[in-house]
Amino acid sequence: MFLRHRTPIRNQTAENSLFARRAIIAFIGVLILVGVLIANLYNIQVNSYDTYQTKANGNRIKIIPIAPNRGLIYDRNGIILAENKPSHTLELIPEKIKDLHATIEKIGTIVSLSDDERSRFLKSVKRQRRFKSITLKSRLTHAQVAQLSVNLHDLPGVVIEARLKRYYPYGEILTHTLGYVARLSAKDEIKIELDGEKAIYAATKDIGRLGVEKYYQKLLHGLPGYQEIEVNNRGRVVRVLNEVLPEHGQDLYLNIDIRLQKKAYEELAGRRGSVVAIDPNNGAVLAMVSSPSYDPNLFVHGISTKNYKKLLSVDKPLINRATMGTYPPASTIKQLMALAALEAHIIDEHTSIRDPGWYKLPNVERKFRDHLAWGHGKVDVYKAMKKSCDTYFYDVANRLGIDKISSFMDKFGFGHYSGLDIHEEKRAIMPSRQWKKERHNQPWYPGDTISLGIGQSYWTTTPIQLANSVSIVAASGKRYTPQLLGASQSSNGFLQLPADEKPQIILQDENHWRIAQKGMWEVVNSNGGTAYRVFKGAKYQSAGKTGTAQLISIGEDEKYDAEKINARHRDNAMYVGYAPFENPQIAITVVIENAGGGGSSAAPIARKVLDLYLDSSLNKTPSLVANQVVNTSATGALHAH
């Protein structure tokens, strides 16, 4: 019962009742508002639970990729050619650093920083994304690591990373063949993204840049693992929730015999040139040297500008002469000319000509001179090879004609990529009518054909092509793609790469192989042969052919020093050969630029290499490939690409 009185006399009952009502209203208000809170919390905690649960996990769980260890590379005898060594690098994360220059100055007071290191770092800062770490100084010594470590708390965004870095114990001996790895560049990363391989390279710092390291990048790289880690709000790792280990890259066994490689490199002694050795029975590349060379380890940690400029010298050490040096083959293809002529029935074993010291086309004034001014007299196919008679082959070439020469030489791989398993290669030129039309927009003149007989004119080859052609002759027509990779070792087991045999060259008369081979045999073994004196006393019988190519060193727009002009126009010395004669195990090509006569300069190097390979007293270890139990069940066939 409540009566509303507005009187100055206070009605206690009414006031109590008023308060009670207000208190109840207030409490109802409280209940409603608590209801609102609970409804809102219900919405957050029950209706949107999944969303927030995901966000909470996204906050704390990070996936950290783990880089796989790069596969090691061995030679055919299991000698290590490329290994991984732990190396400490000082890296900066620009995003986390307020004043980059001040930080660098501060670091400079702790460890010495060269101008080159600074400028290289600042250059990368501009190129890379800000959250990525950038190397300031690599190959820290233990002392430097210690000095930096105690100061790291003052240097936010600065980290010392311990990484496995590639190391090439044989250095410059094998550079062009083995190649090297270098830091992933912005360009590499774009390519990786385009190839859809971003996940695979998530933690990778280095990539194969050249040679085998580049060609077999995928096999060597492996697959990354990852760590699922819990982090706090500052990104510090609290614990590891889950870990999947990386699948390390495959170990590769090259066909290279590092002893041969080393020998050949040492024998070249810094001269510009190349040595290539191939096993004629399977195309295995036993040695592939390009000289001059450089230390691949320089590139692994990022080469300095100063060092890189040195590599741009006129001697062009960066170029792999074995596959990219294009030289006129000169007399080293005379056995092939002979074969072509025999097959075309232009000559036979007994055909001989008179060599007055020159050759002349009818009705043309120009004389093609023999290297022996007074001529070789009566010359048959054997003597032509043994003495390297030019006139004989001028005649042969003229009678064969460009079309026959071109199509015949085509089978021996001239003008084609050899298919060697590195990317750096040139096709060189096997001229033809069509080629001249396209290249020079000129018809083919008969005079062009004549110098083809002695491997001059437009004809150029690379040392690997030449070695391959000799290998085919040694194997009487059996052809193989030259291969650097011999076998690989992965978690699936040891897998030998089979020889890549191409269709054999079948001659109309198999005896013609024997004639060409015998001609080469006489070069080396018959008194008066151009390589007779060099190979005198060898413990094995070999066959070969010398060559002395007129001019043209590699490169097109080289600037010649006035003083060097003469030197650079000297003849290239060349030699091709194989041994043992009856059971060929190795075919070899030696090219030395501007060194003069092939017999005097190139053949001695071939002799040294063949001696080393074939001399049983050297206690040659059998090739590792033969030693291994071949895992035939391995399904992952090796892909060369």
Binding site: A23, F27, L33, L37, N40, Y49, N59, E230
Partner: protein
């Protein structure tokens, strides 16, 4: 437990609780909340026993303040209400003139031996003043008295908002407004005040709010616009609460709090820690505990013997609820982030002493009774 209270028991012999001027059910509720506080602070501080000890010390001081406050007869408060209020306003003016600057606001007066926050005491002084003023006349209060009451409220509220301290001025203001409401403020006035709130808040926005306060409001309206800046708090808090789900992640297992994604974990955002680790079920139990404290206090207010005591106890209780509502509202994204702690649970001594003194006054109202009606 000597809580043999049945009914109001006027004629029964005075129970023990009345002799020591404490209300055991209310005390039990408050102690339960303090236990929750210690448990959550242990988790929110990264299992720091030191923090728990310090909070324990805060609690002992606060409980002492409560016991002392409970010993004063409400008539004492009434008698000195005007003086308290004048001193309180004077101190607020002094704070603005000589106060200690901390965190961009001027809230403290440094006496050398201790720092004092006058705005805190105003949370009690103002409702005492309003209750005193309004109950001098018959209730329900007339328009004239409501108006003068509003003026009395406006003085400290404006002084505090100048410091600036939005949270405290809201709490102080609501303490005064609740007193007027309980005094029977006309519904028409309440209605027109709500209508007037719109232009008033616009005026506040342009003339009284500081930039950082405006930013808080804007961030509240759309936290995702600034996920790493001022929106970060709300986003992380909602993630913590939401990922707790129905059952919670378990004590010490809240990833948002343990891994420090949640800011202000043991102070303003402690409710988020609690929600993450104990889930909606825990939240409902906690809210039930608060409702018990509020209900018991309102019950005491309703049973008080005189209008002054009723209005004072009611206003203190409802202000306690404002703490609760604003804090939970802000950490769950319903309200903008204003610095209001979760009452009795957030780490910190200052607000706890005020709150517990308030409950001491409520207990005093309940236990200082005239022997006969």
């Amino acid at each position: 437990m000597p809580t043999n209270k049945t009914g109001t028991g006027f004629s029964k012999p005075e129970p023990l609780s009345h002799k020591i001027h404490l209300d055991f059910p209310l005390l039990a509720g408050l102690l339960a909340l303090m236990c929750v506080s210690l448990v959550v602070i242990y988790s929110a501080s990264g299992e720091s026993i030191a923090m728990v000890k310090r909070q324990g010390l805060n609690m002992i001081v606060s409980l002492t303040a409560m016991v002392i406050a409970a010993q004063f007869n409400p008539t004492f408060l009434r008698r000195w209400a005007v003086l308290f209020f004048i001193i309180g306003v004077g101190l607020l003016v002094a704070t603005l003139l000589f106060g200690h600057v901390g965190k961009g606001a001027q809230r403290w007066i440094d006496f050398g031996f201790a720092k004092f926050q006058p705005s805190e005491s105003m949370k009690l002084t103002l409702p005492i003043m309003i209750a005193h003023y309004i109950t001098r006349y018959a209730l329900p209060a007339t328009l004239k008295h409501i108006f003068f009451g509003a003026v009395i409220i406006a003085i400290p509220v404006l002084l505090i908002s100048k410091q600036p301290d939005l949270g405290t001025s809201i709490l102080v203001g609501s303490a005064g407004v609740f007193a007027l409401f309980l005094a029977g403020m006309n519904w028409k006035i309440i209605g027109s005040l709500i209508v007037a709130a719109v232009p008033f808040s616009m005026m506040m926005w342009y003339f009284f709010l500081h930039d950082y306060q405006r930013r808080r409001v804007l961030t509240f309206l759309n936290p995702e616009t600034d996920p790493h800046g001022s929106g970060y708090h709300i986003i992380q808090s909602k993630i913590a609460i939401g990922s707790g789900g129905l059952d919670g992640k378990g004590w010490l297992n809240g990833t948002q709090s343990q891994l420090e994604f949640l800011p202000e974990r043991h102070t303003d955002f402690i409710f988020s820690v609690f929600s993450e680790e104990f889930g909606l079920k825990g939240v409902i139990i906690l809210l039930a505990l608060y409702l018990f404290v509020i209900g018991r206090s309102l019950f005491i207010a309703n049973n008080a013997q005189d209008p002054f005591s009723k209005i004072l106890a009611g206003a203190i209780t409802l202000t306690f609820f404002v703490y609760l509502f604003v804090n939970i509202g802000m950490v769950s994204g319903l309200l903008p982030v204003v610095g209001v702690p979760l009452p009795l649970v957030s780490y910190g001594g200052t607000s706890m002493i005020t709150l517990m003194s308030g409950f001491g006054i409520i207990m005093a109202i309940h236990t200082h009774r005239k022997v006969n009606k």
